[in-house]
Symmetry: C2
Subunit: 168 residues, 2 copies
């Protein structure tokens, strides 16, 4: 295969593959919408913001540097800045200067933030369970885990030659 200007017919998806792809899109968008609405209603924030609180709650001293939080939540620093600003207004997160690096900021989960999680986590887990784990057999759960890990490997940013595909 040439690197650029490849004029050969692309390898379209087979009928089966198309069907799987559509099912994938269907299910993932429905689930993300469902969780977004559930959390917006019960916790007053979108799913991504909830994920930020969860990350913080599991970090030592319930705080993380902005960049680390962005990486673990797989969002841009820009997006995180806006998100933390909003969560700060709600009183769920507090910013703290990093003593060792004056550029740095910690995002720290407040007690109120912990309380929000304590109050809303059960409903969220129930939603996840109802949509996924209560409907799949143990074998399917295991298969799903394997499949998702494989897919993630191929998409890992800065993964093995991720930005140097011409070297493969």
């Amino acid at each position: 295969m040439g690197v650029m200007g490849d004029r050969t017919e692309p390898r379209w998806l087979s009928d089966g593959e198309q069907h799987v792809w559509r099912s994938y899109l269907h299910a993932t968008t429905l689930l993300e919408d469902h969780l977004d609405r559930q959390l917006q209603r019960d916790a007053g924030m979108p799913h991504v913001y909830y994920g930020l609180l969860v990350q913080l709650s599991q970090a030592p001293r319930r705080r993380l540097r902005m960049t680390e939080l962005a990486k673990s939540a797989k969002i841009t620093r820009s997006r995180l800045s806006h998100a933390v600003a909003r969560l700060e207004k709600n009183g769920w997160v507090r910013r703290e200067d990093c003593p060792s690096d004056k550029r740095g900021q910690f995002a720290q989960l407040t007690d109120e933030g912990v309380e929000v999680l304590r109050r809303t986590a059960p409903g969220h887990v129930a939603a996840v369970r109802q949509a996924m784990f209560d409907r799949l057999s143990p074998e399917q759960v295991e298969q799903l885990g394997t499949i998702m890990r494989v897919m993630a490997e191929g998409l890992e940013p800065a993964g093995p030659d991720a930005d140097l595909p011409w070297l493969r």
Copy 2:
């Protein structure tokens, strides 16, 4: 289990389940981000908008009623209105009045819209293939299809008692 005010300890996710859930979130967000960027770069629109053009391209006379298009793309009518307005500005979609129902509108794919798809579809398919089908075994693809279908069933809006869970 009580219907409301259930004070029993919620069924938290097991370690294995948590791991699968994280892999799922990780993979799906990475893939969606990847496709969004790929299409924004190569086609000048986000993934959802691209999906709208695809739906239209497969419809008879390359047109659909707004509500049907919204349903098949699983987005709200409001969102679709804004999206079609944007696609119309690009010249890729045209609105047409419905003769039989004066409230109705058709969204019709223009020749330019077809051309955009023709030009960008190969790259998009390649991205999907590279992220999913080239990395999974045929068995895994089949497993994924089954799993996604099962999950979608449980999330289907207006599905079996979807909004009446207390009757189950």
